[in-house]
Amino acid sequence: MKRFIPAISVLALAFMLPPLLTALKSAHYMTQLTMSAYYALASLGLCALMGYAGQINMGQAGFFAIGGYASAFISKLELSATAGSGPAKALDALGLLSKGLDSYGNSYLSPSPWLSCIAAVLLAVGVSALIGTPVLRLRGHYLAMATLAFGIVIEKVVRGTTALGGADGLSSVPAFAVLPGLEITGGRAARAANFTVSWVVLAAGLLLLANLVASRSGRALRALHDGEEAADAMGVDTARVKLKVFILGAAFAAVAGVLLTHYNGSIGPGEANFMKSVRYVAIVAVGGMANIAGTLIAALLLNFLSLRGVFGSLDDAVFGLILITVMLIGPSGRAAVSRLRAALSPKAAPSAAAPSPRSAAPSPRAAAPSPGAAAGVAARDAARKGGAS
């Protein structure tokens, strides 16, 4: 049951925080907390890929932007001219068109946000499958560069296309009526309800991820993380598993993009920016990579602080410093914590002269290589020679 703790906590907070914050006269925090929840959802998608499959994606913001832009574009389409046509009638019969009067009193007929949302997520899934299939064959630096390149392409396309608003982006995105009487929109009256919606969506994402990690696919993922060849040899279809997680991560980002765009009523090319992708990576790294709860907390906290403007003009620098610091602290956040605990416990004091795990690690290799390590090195050398000849 331990794995459901993050989802249950978020679900509980979704309903408990609004009255609490209102009582504390801090209801305005709910706006940033709503936005943070959507960014957290995108970060969790990346956590599955980076933490569990050990693959990097430096273009996560690209999928967020695909979702947001596609939904904004489609839900703003004006279909009045084609009202009588067959497809329009069919959509209308399914309840997938929204009509009414805009603020200037003109009647409009547009695809409903439900339609645009589904289309946008499907688009992101399609693009991620299309990009992921060739790109996930790459490893390490190549994968990082290829996904970074993908993110930059999305930003350039979005910025350069006049139909998508160019540098200004798309605004006046209609509210998303999720249920009768429940709209995703940025108005003050809808603040508490929107907070609850966003945290419930986040809880649903957490639940999905918790189940994934505990399932057969989750074990395959961890096997993949520990060694791709070994996982392959054990019968894991590594290419398929990687692609599945990549697509899942993209879908998380796209859902987050759609909902945040309807919440804000606008989206700009900044959402597709390289720095945004770096943020998602930084958040997963701070969270401890393969750590859902850690990623959740890091995402909510860092995004909230950033959106409140706590970091001021150092906003981006903070995320860069986080990346370096987390990497410097150690191979993983958990190891750093255990080292800290060892250093702080009184029992460790007499043995302080003994080498710390950090400096001890290389020494056995240098002094007396363990048979396992020696065999590993020999195997790698053999593999390299084989590759070179």
Binding site: M50, G54, I56, M58, P134, V135, R137, L138, R139, G140, H141, Y142, A144, M145, A146, L148, A149, F150, I152, V153, K156, V157, R159, G160, T161, F274, M275, V278, V281, A282, A285, S313, L314, D316, A317, F319, G320, L321, I322, L323, I324, V326, M327, L328, G330, P331, A361, P362, R384, G387, A388, S389
Partner: protein, 296 residues
């Protein structure tokens, strides 16, 4: 397209190709020494141009550029000593994340120090209006300086790796790290030299093109991606091929304006990168055997 327009595009391709080649050579030197790709490579070119532009008004241009190159080299060595050396054991993913972090810190530091205005370095000869006319095309004499610099850097590097003891030691380290250290070469020192050289070359490239292309604190990431495209295009680790690939990409980019709208110019570059990575990760001139030698 008439001859003069053709030459105009050609010269523009040459200019941008040179800076891409400079960044790609930087990637290659570090890759050969350590097997890693330094995502902060573009920031070295940015730093070079920025420092030179700040110093140029108060001293002779040559001195300003020399200081800019040396200061950036120092930054390169510091980055390796203070950060990357401590992470190297923990694998590629951490290394990528750390160098991305470094690139952002360098970029934000530049923003804090020098603001977000677009800066420029004085022209080496003449000024912004002086031009050379060739077959009806007009271009700045700075183009000669750019081509000369990149030629000198390439020739100098080739001689350095062939003739000097340090160059040979660096190649030995890249071929076999353990073997080299058994011969009394310090791989750590060679890695530091590699970072210094790589940063210096990037900075020089940044200074030389700055009069024409201007410089800006956020220039690094797009230079890094194009430099990497060029390095991968030529085959990682091969600096001569990087120059050829740089020119090829510069031309492709400048001639792409004929068919593709200007706003999508970078998309062309990146499409090339994705195609090269997927179809032939060892690059156009790289052999599969050379690629397999590297850990990553």
């Amino acid at each position: 397209m008439d001859a003069s327009l053709f030459i105009q595009y050609f010269i523009s391709g040459l200019t941008y190709g040179s800076i891409y080649a400079a960044v790609a050579i930087g990637f290659n030197i570090i890759y050969n020494a350590t097997g890693i790709i330094n995502f902060a490579q573009g920031e070295f070119a940015m730093l070079g141009g920025m420092i030179a532009s700040v110093l140029a008004p108060s001293m002779p241009l040559v001195l300003a550029i020399a200081i800019a190159v040396m200061a950036t080299a120092a930054v390169g060595v510091a980055v390796e000593r203070l950060v990357l050396r401590r992470i190297a054991r923990f694998g590629v993913l951490k290394m990528i994340i750390a160098t991305v972090g470094l690139s952002i810190v360098l970029r934000e530091a530049a923003l804090l120090l020098w603001g977000e205005s677009v800066r420029t370095v004085p022209f080496f000869t003449g000024n912004e209006v002086s031009s050379v006319t060739m077959l009806g095309a007009h271009f700045s004499p700075q183009v000669f300086w750019i081509v000369l610099s990149i030629g000198l850097v390439t020739a100098g590097l080739t001689l350095f790796f062939k003739l000097t003891m340090t160059g040979k030691a660096m190649r030995a380290c890249s071929a076999n790290r353990e073997g080299a250290s058994l011969c009394g070469i310090s791989p750590g020192a060679m890695v530091a030299v590699a970072f210094g050289m790589s940063a210096a070359i990037g900075a020089l490239g940044g200074c030389v093109v700055a009069p024409l292309t201007q410089t800006h604190y956020a220039l690094g990431s797009s230079l890094a991606i194009k430099g990497f495209t060029v390095a991968a295009f030529g085959g990682l680790g091969n600096s001569l091929a990087a120059v050829a690939a740089g020119m090829l990409l510069g031309m492709l980019e400048s001639f792409s304006i004929v068919v593709v709208p200007e706003a999508y110019k970078d998309v062309v570059t990146i499409a090339v990168l994705l195609a090269v990575l997927v179809a032939k990760p060892t690059g156009l001139f790289g052999s599969r055997a050379a690629g397999a030698l590297k850990a990553y």
